[in-house]
Symmetry: C2
Subunit: 293 residues, 2 copies
Protein backbone atom coordinates (compact mmCIF):
# COMPACT_ATOMS: atom_id res chain seq x y z
CA UNK A 1 0.00 0.00 0.00
CA UNK A 2 3.08 2.24 0.12
CA UNK A 3 2.47 4.14 -3.15
CA UNK A 4 -0.93 5.42 -2.08
CA UNK A 5 0.35 6.10 1.44
CA UNK A 6 3.10 8.41 0.18
CA UNK A 7 0.74 10.27 -2.12
CA UNK A 8 -1.81 10.70 0.68
CA UNK A 9 0.87 12.03 2.98
CA UNK A 10 1.69 14.64 0.33
CA UNK A 11 -1.95 15.77 0.06
CA UNK A 12 -2.32 16.02 3.84
CA UNK A 13 0.94 17.92 4.14
CA UNK A 14 -0.33 20.46 1.62
CA UNK A 15 -3.80 20.84 3.14
CA UNK A 16 -2.31 21.26 6.61
CA UNK A 17 0.30 23.74 5.45
CA UNK A 18 0.98 27.10 7.02
CA UNK A 19 -0.46 29.28 4.23
CA UNK A 20 -3.94 30.62 5.01
CA UNK A 21 -6.52 29.61 2.42
CA UNK A 22 -8.74 32.09 0.61
CA UNK A 23 -10.97 33.94 3.05
CA UNK A 24 -9.12 32.75 6.16
CA UNK A 25 -8.28 35.34 8.77
CA UNK A 26 -5.48 33.44 10.48
CA UNK A 27 -4.11 29.92 10.86
CA UNK A 28 -3.77 28.84 14.48
CA UNK A 29 -0.27 27.39 14.43
CA UNK A 30 -0.52 25.13 17.48
CA UNK A 31 -3.80 23.61 16.29
CA UNK A 32 -2.31 22.86 12.87
CA UNK A 33 0.74 21.28 14.50
CA UNK A 34 -1.53 19.01 16.52
CA UNK A 35 -3.53 18.09 13.40
CA UNK A 36 -0.28 17.31 11.57
CA UNK A 37 0.90 15.19 14.48
CA UNK A 38 -2.36 13.24 14.27
CA UNK A 39 -2.35 12.69 10.51
CA UNK A 40 1.21 12.73 9.15
CA UNK A 41 4.11 10.32 9.47
CA UNK A 42 2.62 6.89 9.54
CA UNK A 43 -0.37 4.68 9.76
CA UNK A 44 -1.42 1.98 7.36
CA UNK A 45 -3.63 4.37 5.33
CA UNK A 46 -6.01 1.46 4.79
CA UNK A 47 -9.04 3.68 4.23
CA UNK A 48 -7.28 5.94 1.74
CA UNK A 49 -5.82 2.92 -0.03
CA UNK A 50 -9.26 1.35 -0.42
CA UNK A 51 -10.76 4.56 -1.80
CA UNK A 52 -7.89 5.09 -4.23
CA UNK A 53 -7.92 1.49 -5.44
CA UNK A 54 -11.68 1.23 -5.91
CA UNK A 55 -11.61 4.61 -7.69
CA UNK A 56 -8.94 3.19 -10.00
CA UNK A 57 -11.19 0.20 -10.72
CA UNK A 58 -13.72 2.62 -12.24
CA UNK A 59 -11.08 4.82 -13.88
CA UNK A 60 -11.80 7.86 -11.73
CA UNK A 61 -9.43 10.81 -11.71
CA UNK A 62 -6.38 9.96 -9.59
CA UNK A 63 -5.98 13.35 -7.90
CA UNK A 64 -9.67 13.34 -6.90
CA UNK A 65 -9.25 9.91 -5.36
CA UNK A 66 -6.27 11.12 -3.33
CA UNK A 67 -8.31 14.02 -1.95
CA UNK A 68 -11.09 11.63 -0.98
CA UNK A 69 -8.46 9.36 0.57
CA UNK A 70 -7.06 12.30 2.53
CA UNK A 71 -10.57 13.14 3.78
CA UNK A 72 -11.04 9.56 5.00
CA UNK A 73 -7.69 9.65 6.80
CA UNK A 74 -8.63 12.96 8.48
CA UNK A 75 -11.89 11.44 9.68
CA UNK A 76 -10.13 8.33 10.91
CA UNK A 77 -7.40 10.38 12.62
CA UNK A 78 -10.04 12.49 14.40
CA UNK A 79 -11.62 9.35 15.82
CA UNK A 80 -8.25 8.07 17.06
CA UNK A 81 -7.36 11.39 18.71
CA UNK A 82 -10.66 11.47 20.59
CA UNK A 83 -10.64 7.74 21.43
CA UNK A 84 -7.17 8.16 22.97
CA UNK A 85 -8.31 10.95 25.34
CA UNK A 86 -8.10 10.36 29.11
CA UNK A 87 -11.91 10.32 29.40
CA UNK A 88 -12.08 7.58 26.73
CA UNK A 89 -9.38 4.90 26.32
CA UNK A 90 -6.65 7.00 28.00
CA UNK A 91 -3.81 5.92 25.72
CA UNK A 92 -0.30 7.40 25.76
CA UNK A 93 0.98 5.76 22.61
CA UNK A 94 -0.26 5.65 19.02
CA UNK A 95 1.78 4.41 16.05
CA UNK A 96 4.77 4.29 18.37
CA UNK A 97 4.54 8.01 19.18
CA UNK A 98 2.89 9.99 21.99
CA UNK A 99 -0.84 10.50 21.46
CA UNK A 100 -1.94 14.07 20.67
CA UNK A 101 -3.07 14.90 24.22
CA UNK A 102 0.32 13.69 25.51
CA UNK A 103 2.38 15.52 22.89
CA UNK A 104 0.26 18.69 23.26
CA UNK A 105 -2.52 18.88 25.86
CA UNK A 106 -6.07 17.70 26.29
CA UNK A 107 -7.83 20.86 25.08
CA UNK A 108 -5.67 20.96 21.96
CA UNK A 109 -6.38 17.28 21.30
CA UNK A 110 -10.14 17.82 21.54
CA UNK A 111 -9.95 20.77 19.14
CA UNK A 112 -7.58 18.99 16.75
CA UNK A 113 -10.01 16.09 16.51
CA UNK A 114 -12.91 18.47 15.99
CA UNK A 115 -11.09 20.37 13.24
CA UNK A 116 -9.99 17.15 11.53
CA UNK A 117 -13.59 16.03 11.31
CA UNK A 118 -14.53 19.38 9.78
CA UNK A 119 -11.60 19.19 7.36
CA UNK A 120 -12.78 15.81 6.10
CA UNK A 121 -16.13 17.31 5.05
CA UNK A 122 -14.40 20.42 3.71
CA UNK A 123 -12.24 18.29 1.41
CA UNK A 124 -15.20 16.30 0.11
CA UNK A 125 -17.38 19.34 -0.57
CA UNK A 126 -14.60 21.30 -2.29
CA UNK A 127 -15.06 21.62 -6.07
CA UNK A 128 -11.36 20.74 -6.43
CA UNK A 129 -12.29 17.16 -5.46
CA UNK A 130 -14.86 16.65 -8.21
CA UNK A 131 -16.55 19.09 -10.56
CA UNK A 132 -19.95 17.40 -10.14
CA UNK A 133 -21.82 18.68 -7.06
CA UNK A 134 -23.94 15.50 -7.04
CA UNK A 135 -20.80 13.43 -6.51
CA UNK A 136 -19.53 15.76 -3.77
CA UNK A 137 -22.87 15.77 -2.03
CA UNK A 138 -23.08 11.95 -2.18
CA UNK A 139 -19.59 11.70 -0.71
CA UNK A 140 -20.44 14.06 2.15
CA UNK A 141 -23.66 12.26 2.97
CA UNK A 142 -21.96 8.85 2.81
CA UNK A 143 -19.20 9.97 5.15
CA UNK A 144 -21.67 11.54 7.57
CA UNK A 145 -23.73 8.34 7.75
CA UNK A 146 -20.60 6.19 8.23
CA UNK A 147 -19.19 8.32 11.01
CA UNK A 148 -22.14 9.74 12.92
CA UNK A 149 -24.39 8.33 15.58
CA UNK A 150 -25.51 5.46 13.35
CA UNK A 151 -21.87 4.66 12.50
CA UNK A 152 -18.47 5.23 14.08
CA UNK A 153 -19.41 7.59 16.93
CA UNK A 154 -22.44 5.47 17.78
CA UNK A 155 -20.23 2.36 17.76
CA UNK A 156 -17.73 3.98 20.10
CA UNK A 157 -20.59 4.80 22.46
CA UNK A 158 -21.78 1.19 22.42
CA UNK A 159 -18.16 0.14 23.01
CA UNK A 160 -17.88 2.34 26.11
CA UNK A 161 -21.09 0.86 27.45
CA UNK A 162 -19.98 -2.68 26.56
CA UNK A 163 -17.24 -2.41 29.15
CA UNK A 164 -19.96 -2.88 31.71
CA UNK A 165 -21.96 -5.62 29.96
CA UNK A 166 -20.88 -8.94 28.49
CA UNK A 167 -22.00 -8.76 24.86
CA UNK A 168 -22.98 -11.82 22.80
CA UNK A 169 -21.92 -12.46 19.20
CA UNK A 170 -24.76 -10.41 17.69
CA UNK A 171 -23.95 -7.43 19.92
CA UNK A 172 -20.22 -7.69 19.13
CA UNK A 173 -20.90 -7.81 15.40
CA UNK A 174 -23.28 -4.85 15.61
CA UNK A 175 -20.78 -2.79 17.57
CA UNK A 176 -17.90 -3.58 15.21
CA UNK A 177 -19.98 -2.96 12.09
CA UNK A 178 -20.67 0.53 13.42
CA UNK A 179 -17.37 1.41 15.09
CA UNK A 180 -14.91 0.32 12.41
CA UNK A 181 -16.94 -1.39 9.67
CA UNK A 182 -19.02 1.55 8.47
CA UNK A 183 -16.06 3.77 7.60
CA UNK A 184 -14.09 1.00 5.91
CA UNK A 185 -17.14 0.06 3.87
CA UNK A 186 -17.68 3.67 2.91
CA UNK A 187 -13.99 4.03 1.93
CA UNK A 188 -14.62 1.46 -0.80
CA UNK A 189 -17.98 2.93 -1.74
CA UNK A 190 -16.42 6.40 -2.04
CA UNK A 191 -14.18 5.13 -4.85
CA UNK A 192 -17.23 3.74 -6.61
CA UNK A 193 -19.09 7.07 -6.22
CA UNK A 194 -16.11 8.97 -7.61
CA UNK A 195 -15.88 6.51 -10.50
CA UNK A 196 -19.58 6.79 -11.40
CA UNK A 197 -20.00 3.04 -10.94
CA UNK A 198 -23.30 1.43 -11.94
CA UNK A 199 -25.73 0.70 -9.10
CA UNK A 200 -24.87 -2.99 -9.39
CA UNK A 201 -21.12 -2.39 -9.16
CA UNK A 202 -21.59 0.04 -6.31
CA UNK A 203 -23.54 -2.59 -4.34
CA UNK A 204 -20.85 -5.17 -5.06
CA UNK A 205 -18.13 -2.78 -3.84
CA UNK A 206 -20.15 -1.91 -0.73
CA UNK A 207 -20.31 -5.59 0.16
CA UNK A 208 -16.60 -5.92 -0.58
CA UNK A 209 -15.99 -3.03 1.82
CA UNK A 210 -18.13 -4.73 4.44
CA UNK A 211 -16.12 -7.94 4.08
CA UNK A 212 -12.82 -6.04 4.33
CA UNK A 213 -14.09 -4.23 7.40
CA UNK A 214 -15.01 -7.50 9.09
CA UNK A 215 -11.67 -9.08 8.16
CA UNK A 216 -9.78 -6.05 9.41
CA UNK A 217 -11.57 -6.15 12.75
CA UNK A 218 -11.11 -9.89 13.27
CA UNK A 219 -7.39 -9.61 12.39
CA UNK A 220 -7.17 -6.73 14.85
CA UNK A 221 -8.78 -8.79 17.58
CA UNK A 222 -6.33 -11.65 16.95
CA UNK A 223 -3.38 -9.25 17.03
CA UNK A 224 -4.65 -7.70 20.23
CA UNK A 225 -4.55 -11.18 21.73
CA UNK A 226 -1.24 -12.39 20.28
CA UNK A 227 1.08 -9.52 19.27
CA UNK A 228 3.44 -7.49 21.41
CA UNK A 229 2.98 -3.78 22.09
CA UNK A 230 6.33 -3.18 20.40
CA UNK A 231 5.19 -4.69 17.10
CA UNK A 232 1.92 -2.74 17.11
CA UNK A 233 3.16 0.59 18.42
CA UNK A 234 0.22 0.71 20.83
CA UNK A 235 -0.98 -1.06 23.96
CA UNK A 236 -2.18 -4.66 23.47
CA UNK A 237 -4.38 -7.06 25.38
CA UNK A 238 -6.52 -4.05 26.28
CA UNK A 239 -9.77 -5.39 24.96
CA UNK A 240 -9.69 -8.73 26.72
CA UNK A 241 -8.19 -7.34 29.94
CA UNK A 242 -11.00 -4.83 30.20
CA UNK A 243 -13.54 -7.55 29.55
CA UNK A 244 -14.65 -6.03 26.27
CA UNK A 245 -16.23 -8.55 23.95
CA UNK A 246 -14.50 -9.72 20.80
CA UNK A 247 -15.17 -12.85 18.79
CA UNK A 248 -11.64 -13.99 19.68
CA UNK A 249 -12.54 -13.63 23.35
CA UNK A 250 -15.78 -15.52 22.76
CA UNK A 251 -14.51 -18.39 20.54
CA UNK A 252 -10.69 -18.28 20.64
CA UNK A 253 -8.16 -17.60 17.89
CA UNK A 254 -8.55 -20.75 15.73
CA UNK A 255 -12.23 -20.43 14.77
CA UNK A 256 -11.70 -16.73 14.06
CA UNK A 257 -8.83 -17.54 11.70
CA UNK A 258 -11.25 -19.84 9.84
CA UNK A 259 -13.80 -17.01 9.61
CA UNK A 260 -11.04 -14.82 8.16
CA UNK A 261 -10.30 -17.40 5.45
CA UNK A 262 -13.98 -17.39 4.52
CA UNK A 263 -14.00 -13.60 4.29
CA UNK A 264 -10.94 -13.52 2.04
CA UNK A 265 -12.60 -16.06 -0.27
CA UNK A 266 -15.76 -13.93 -0.39
CA UNK A 267 -13.73 -10.79 -1.14
CA UNK A 268 -12.02 -12.53 -4.06
CA UNK A 269 -15.35 -13.74 -5.38
CA UNK A 270 -16.81 -10.23 -5.21
CA UNK A 271 -13.87 -8.85 -7.18
CA UNK A 272 -13.88 -11.62 -9.81
CA UNK A 273 -16.05 -9.71 -12.35
CA UNK A 274 -13.41 -6.95 -12.44
CA UNK A 275 -10.71 -9.40 -13.55
CA UNK A 276 -7.08 -8.35 -13.60
CA UNK A 277 -7.90 -4.73 -12.76
CA UNK A 278 -8.83 -5.81 -9.23
CA UNK A 279 -5.64 -7.72 -8.45
CA UNK A 280 -4.31 -5.08 -6.02
CA UNK A 281 -7.59 -4.96 -4.09
CA UNK A 282 -7.64 -8.75 -3.85
CA UNK A 283 -4.10 -8.70 -2.50
CA UNK A 284 -5.17 -6.10 0.03
CA UNK A 285 -7.94 -8.39 1.26
CA UNK A 286 -5.38 -11.13 1.88
CA UNK A 287 -2.98 -8.67 3.47
CA UNK A 288 -5.65 -7.33 5.84
CA UNK A 289 -6.48 -10.86 6.97
CA UNK A 290 -2.93 -12.05 7.67
CA UNK A 291 -1.23 -8.82 8.75
CA UNK A 292 1.00 -8.95 11.79
CA UNK A 293 0.88 -5.28 12.84
CA UNK B 1 -37.58 34.88 17.46
CA UNK B 2 -39.96 32.45 19.17
CA UNK B 3 -41.73 31.18 16.03
CA UNK B 4 -38.55 29.94 14.38
CA UNK B 5 -37.27 28.59 17.71
CA UNK B 6 -40.34 26.37 18.17
CA UNK B 7 -40.16 25.08 14.61
CA UNK B 8 -36.43 24.34 14.94
CA UNK B 9 -37.08 22.45 18.17
CA UNK B 10 -39.59 20.30 16.29
CA UNK B 11 -37.08 19.46 13.52
CA UNK B 12 -34.35 18.59 16.04
CA UNK B 13 -36.76 16.46 18.06
CA UNK B 14 -37.61 14.48 14.92
CA UNK B 15 -34.00 14.07 13.73
CA UNK B 16 -32.90 12.96 17.19
CA UNK B 17 -35.79 10.57 17.60
CA UNK B 18 -35.50 6.95 18.63
CA UNK B 19 -36.38 5.38 15.27
CA UNK B 20 -33.33 4.16 13.34
CA UNK B 21 -32.99 5.76 9.93
CA UNK B 22 -32.67 3.79 6.71
CA UNK B 23 -29.50 1.70 6.74
CA UNK B 24 -28.80 2.20 10.44
CA UNK B 25 -27.89 -0.86 12.49
CA UNK B 26 -28.76 0.53 15.89
CA UNK B 27 -29.34 3.83 17.68
CA UNK B 28 -27.16 4.24 20.76
CA UNK B 29 -29.75 5.44 23.26
CA UNK B 30 -27.43 7.15 25.74
CA UNK B 31 -25.64 9.06 22.99
CA UNK B 32 -28.92 10.29 21.57
CA UNK B 33 -30.08 11.37 25.02
CA UNK B 34 -26.90 13.41 25.43
CA UNK B 35 -27.36 14.97 21.99
CA UNK B 36 -30.95 15.83 22.88
CA UNK B 37 -29.81 17.35 26.18
CA UNK B 38 -27.36 19.52 24.22
CA UNK B 39 -29.78 20.70 21.55
CA UNK B 40 -33.35 20.68 22.86
CA UNK B 41 -35.16 22.81 25.39
CA UNK B 42 -33.78 26.25 25.05
CA UNK B 43 -31.26 28.61 23.67
CA UNK B 44 -31.86 31.75 21.67
CA UNK B 45 -31.61 29.89 18.32
CA UNK B 46 -29.99 32.99 16.87
CA UNK B 47 -28.19 31.09 14.10
CA UNK B 48 -31.29 29.19 13.02
CA UNK B 49 -33.36 32.35 13.18
CA UNK B 50 -30.90 34.21 10.93
CA UNK B 51 -30.87 31.37 8.38
CA UNK B 52 -34.65 31.09 8.36
CA UNK B 53 -35.20 34.84 8.06
CA UNK B 54 -32.63 35.41 5.29
CA UNK B 55 -34.05 32.40 3.44
CA UNK B 56 -37.48 34.01 3.71
CA UNK B 57 -36.06 37.23 2.23
CA UNK B 58 -35.29 35.28 -0.95
CA UNK B 59 -38.47 33.23 -0.84
CA UNK B 60 -36.73 29.91 -0.22
CA UNK B 61 -38.70 26.85 0.82
CA UNK B 62 -39.59 27.12 4.52
CA UNK B 63 -39.05 23.47 5.43
CA UNK B 64 -35.59 23.55 3.79
CA UNK B 65 -34.69 26.62 5.78
CA UNK B 66 -35.71 24.89 9.01
CA UNK B 67 -33.45 21.93 8.21
CA UNK B 68 -30.55 24.29 7.55
CA UNK B 69 -31.38 26.11 10.79
CA UNK B 70 -31.38 22.78 12.65
CA UNK B 71 -27.95 21.95 11.16
CA UNK B 72 -26.58 25.28 12.36
CA UNK B 73 -27.94 24.68 15.86
CA UNK B 74 -26.36 21.19 15.92
CA UNK B 75 -23.01 22.68 14.94
CA UNK B 76 -23.35 25.42 17.54
CA UNK B 77 -24.42 22.94 20.22
CA UNK B 78 -21.41 20.71 19.47
CA UNK B 79 -19.09 23.67 20.03
CA UNK B 80 -20.75 24.49 23.36
CA UNK B 81 -20.57 20.87 24.58
CA UNK B 82 -16.85 20.68 23.82
CA UNK B 83 -16.07 24.21 25.11
CA UNK B 84 -17.72 23.31 28.42
CA UNK B 85 -15.51 20.22 28.95
CA UNK B 86 -13.17 20.14 31.99
CA UNK B 87 -10.10 20.38 29.72
CA UNK B 88 -11.54 23.53 28.11
CA UNK B 89 -13.65 26.07 30.04
CA UNK B 90 -14.77 23.55 32.68
CA UNK B 91 -18.34 24.82 33.03
CA UNK B 92 -21.05 23.13 35.08
CA UNK B 93 -23.96 25.22 33.86
CA UNK B 94 -25.35 26.01 30.42
CA UNK B 95 -28.74 27.61 29.74
CA UNK B 96 -29.48 27.15 33.43
CA UNK B 97 -29.04 23.35 33.23
CA UNK B 98 -26.10 21.04 33.91
CA UNK B 99 -23.64 20.86 31.01
CA UNK B 100 -23.55 17.57 29.09
CA UNK B 101 -20.46 16.20 30.84
CA UNK B 102 -22.10 16.97 34.21
CA UNK B 103 -25.49 15.49 33.29
CA UNK B 104 -23.86 12.42 31.64
CA UNK B 105 -20.06 11.97 31.74
CA UNK B 106 -17.01 13.29 29.93
CA UNK B 107 -16.67 10.50 27.35
CA UNK B 108 -20.34 10.80 26.43
CA UNK B 109 -20.01 14.58 26.12
CA UNK B 110 -17.03 14.26 23.76
CA UNK B 111 -18.93 11.76 21.61
CA UNK B 112 -22.17 13.76 21.68
CA UNK B 113 -20.29 16.82 20.42
CA UNK B 114 -18.60 14.76 17.73
CA UNK B 115 -21.87 13.25 16.57
CA UNK B 116 -23.61 16.65 16.58
CA UNK B 117 -20.96 18.02 14.26
CA UNK B 118 -21.47 15.05 11.94
CA UNK B 119 -25.23 15.46 12.09
CA UNK B 120 -24.93 19.07 10.96
CA UNK B 121 -23.18 18.00 7.74
CA UNK B 122 -25.55 15.07 7.36
CA UNK B 123 -28.55 17.40 7.42
CA UNK B 124 -27.04 19.79 4.86
CA UNK B 125 -26.02 17.04 2.41
CA UNK B 126 -29.36 15.25 2.63
CA UNK B 127 -31.49 15.61 -0.53
CA UNK B 128 -34.47 16.31 1.75
CA UNK B 129 -32.91 19.72 2.48
CA UNK B 130 -32.73 20.85 -1.13
CA UNK B 131 -33.13 18.97 -4.41
CA UNK B 132 -30.17 20.78 -6.01
CA UNK B 133 -26.83 19.12 -5.16
CA UNK B 134 -25.00 22.37 -5.96
CA UNK B 135 -26.91 24.11 -3.17
CA UNK B 136 -26.25 21.25 -0.73
CA UNK B 137 -22.59 21.17 -1.60
CA UNK B 138 -22.27 24.96 -1.18
CA UNK B 139 -23.94 24.73 2.22
CA UNK B 140 -21.60 21.96 3.37
CA UNK B 141 -18.50 23.81 2.20
CA UNK B 142 -19.66 27.07 3.77
CA UNK B 143 -20.33 25.40 7.11
CA UNK B 144 -16.97 23.60 7.02
CA UNK B 145 -15.10 26.83 6.36
CA UNK B 146 -17.00 28.67 9.12
CA UNK B 147 -16.41 26.00 11.74
CA UNK B 148 -13.02 24.47 10.98
CA UNK B 149 -9.49 25.55 11.74
CA UNK B 150 -9.92 28.82 9.84
CA UNK B 151 -13.16 29.51 11.72
CA UNK B 152 -14.75 28.47 15.01
CA UNK B 153 -12.33 25.71 16.09
CA UNK B 154 -9.35 27.85 15.12
CA UNK B 155 -10.83 30.77 17.08
CA UNK B 156 -11.34 28.60 20.16
CA UNK B 157 -7.66 27.57 19.92
CA UNK B 158 -6.58 31.21 19.74
CA UNK B 159 -8.85 31.92 22.71
CA UNK B 160 -7.21 29.20 24.80
CA UNK B 161 -3.81 30.64 23.97
CA UNK B 162 -4.99 34.22 24.61
CA UNK B 163 -5.44 33.33 28.28
CA UNK B 164 -1.68 33.57 28.51
CA UNK B 165 -1.12 36.70 26.41
CA UNK B 166 -2.69 40.15 26.56
CA UNK B 167 -4.19 40.65 23.11
CA UNK B 168 -4.60 44.06 21.47
CA UNK B 169 -7.72 45.25 19.60
CA UNK B 170 -6.65 43.67 16.29
CA UNK B 171 -6.00 40.30 17.96
CA UNK B 172 -9.32 40.45 19.84
CA UNK B 173 -11.23 41.23 16.65
CA UNK B 174 -9.47 38.46 14.75
CA UNK B 175 -10.22 35.93 17.47
CA UNK B 176 -13.88 36.93 17.75
CA UNK B 177 -14.36 36.97 13.96
CA UNK B 178 -13.22 33.36 13.91
CA UNK B 179 -14.68 32.00 17.15
CA UNK B 180 -18.22 33.38 16.94
CA UNK B 181 -18.33 35.65 13.89
CA UNK B 182 -17.74 33.10 11.14
CA UNK B 183 -20.69 30.87 12.04
CA UNK B 184 -23.11 33.77 12.54
CA UNK B 185 -22.07 35.24 9.21
CA UNK B 186 -22.52 31.87 7.52
CA UNK B 187 -25.96 31.46 9.12
CA UNK B 188 -27.09 34.50 7.14
CA UNK B 189 -25.26 33.44 4.00
CA UNK B 190 -26.86 29.98 4.20
CA UNK B 191 -30.30 31.56 3.80
CA UNK B 192 -29.04 33.44 0.74
CA UNK B 193 -27.60 30.20 -0.74
CA UNK B 194 -30.88 28.39 -0.16
CA UNK B 195 -32.78 31.29 -1.74
CA UNK B 196 -30.55 31.42 -4.85
CA UNK B 197 -29.71 35.06 -4.12
CA UNK B 198 -27.76 37.03 -6.73
CA UNK B 199 -24.01 37.43 -6.09
CA UNK B 200 -24.62 41.04 -5.09
CA UNK B 201 -27.36 40.17 -2.61
CA UNK B 202 -25.29 37.31 -1.22
CA UNK B 203 -22.37 39.68 -0.57
CA UNK B 204 -24.71 42.15 1.10
CA UNK B 205 -26.14 39.43 3.34
CA UNK B 206 -22.65 38.17 4.19
CA UNK B 207 -21.72 41.64 5.37
CA UNK B 208 -24.99 41.85 7.30
CA UNK B 209 -24.05 38.55 8.97
CA UNK B 210 -20.64 39.93 9.82
CA UNK B 211 -22.19 43.00 11.41
CA UNK B 212 -24.65 40.89 13.42
CA UNK B 213 -21.80 38.67 14.55
CA UNK B 214 -19.82 41.65 15.77
CA UNK B 215 -22.84 43.15 17.51
CA UNK B 216 -23.65 39.83 19.16
CA UNK B 217 -20.12 39.49 20.49
CA UNK B 218 -19.92 43.04 21.83
CA UNK B 219 -23.31 42.69 23.52
CA UNK B 220 -22.07 39.41 25.00
CA UNK B 221 -18.93 41.09 26.33
CA UNK B 222 -21.03 43.84 27.94
CA UNK B 223 -23.38 41.27 29.49
CA UNK B 224 -20.43 39.29 30.78
CA UNK B 225 -19.32 42.47 32.57
CA UNK B 226 -22.70 43.66 33.85
CA UNK B 227 -25.30 40.86 34.11
CA UNK B 228 -25.83 38.34 36.88
CA UNK B 229 -25.27 34.60 36.46
CA UNK B 230 -28.94 34.08 37.29
CA UNK B 231 -30.11 36.21 34.35
CA UNK B 232 -27.76 34.51 31.91
CA UNK B 233 -28.05 30.92 33.12
CA UNK B 234 -24.26 30.57 32.97
CA UNK B 235 -21.21 31.86 34.82
CA UNK B 236 -20.39 35.57 34.29
CA UNK B 237 -17.33 37.77 34.68
CA UNK B 238 -15.32 34.80 33.43
CA UNK B 239 -13.62 36.56 30.58
CA UNK B 240 -12.33 39.53 32.51
CA UNK B 241 -11.46 37.51 35.62
CA UNK B 242 -9.32 35.19 33.53
CA UNK B 243 -7.60 38.14 31.89
CA UNK B 244 -9.03 37.28 28.48
CA UNK B 245 -9.17 40.23 26.15
CA UNK B 246 -12.47 41.80 25.17
CA UNK B 247 -13.07 45.28 23.76
CA UNK B 248 -15.08 46.02 26.92
CA UNK B 249 -12.03 45.11 28.98
CA UNK B 250 -9.84 47.28 26.76
CA UNK B 251 -12.07 50.39 26.45
CA UNK B 252 -14.90 50.05 29.00
CA UNK B 253 -18.66 49.67 28.47
CA UNK B 254 -19.56 53.15 27.15
CA UNK B 255 -17.42 53.24 23.97
CA UNK B 256 -18.51 49.69 23.17
CA UNK B 257 -22.18 50.71 23.42
CA UNK B 258 -21.39 53.44 20.88
CA UNK B 259 -19.80 50.84 18.56
CA UNK B 260 -22.97 48.77 18.92
CA UNK B 261 -25.12 51.72 17.84
CA UNK B 262 -22.94 52.10 14.75
CA UNK B 263 -23.31 48.41 13.92
CA UNK B 264 -27.10 48.53 14.23
CA UNK B 265 -27.16 51.53 11.87
CA UNK B 266 -25.00 49.66 9.36
CA UNK B 267 -27.22 46.57 9.59
CA UNK B 268 -30.31 48.68 8.85
CA UNK B 269 -28.57 50.30 5.90
CA UNK B 270 -27.57 46.91 4.48
CA UNK B 271 -31.16 45.71 4.70
CA UNK B 272 -32.68 48.87 3.21
CA UNK B 273 -32.80 47.58 -0.41
CA UNK B 274 -35.04 44.70 0.76
CA UNK B 275 -37.64 47.13 2.12
CA UNK B 276 -40.50 45.86 4.25
CA UNK B 277 -39.56 42.20 3.70
CA UNK B 278 -36.50 42.72 5.92
CA UNK B 279 -38.31 44.25 8.89
CA UNK B 280 -37.89 41.16 11.10
CA UNK B 281 -34.16 40.93 10.37
CA UNK B 282 -33.72 44.63 11.19
CA UNK B 283 -35.54 44.12 14.47
CA UNK B 284 -33.26 41.20 15.21
CA UNK B 285 -30.22 43.42 14.72
CA UNK B 286 -31.58 45.83 17.29
CA UNK B 287 -32.52 43.00 19.63
CA UNK B 288 -29.06 41.46 19.43
CA UNK B 289 -27.47 44.78 20.33
CA UNK B 290 -29.63 45.59 23.34
CA UNK B 291 -30.42 42.11 24.68
CA UNK B 292 -30.14 41.59 28.40
CA UNK B 293 -29.61 37.82 28.51
Amino acid sequence: MSGAATAIERVLDRVLGSNPREGEIARPVRLIEAMRHATLGGGKRLRAFLAVETARLFEANGESALRVGAALECLHAYSLVHDDLPAMDDDDLRRGRPTVHRAFDEATAILAGDALQTLAFDLLADPATDADPQVRSDLVLGLARASGLGGMAGGQMLDLQAEKDTPDEAAIRRLQAMKTGALIRFSCEAGAILGRATAEDRDRIRRFGEVIGLAFQLADDILDETATAEALGKATGKDSSRGKGTLVGLYGVTPVRAMLDGLVAEAEELLAPFGARAVTLAEAARFVAIREA
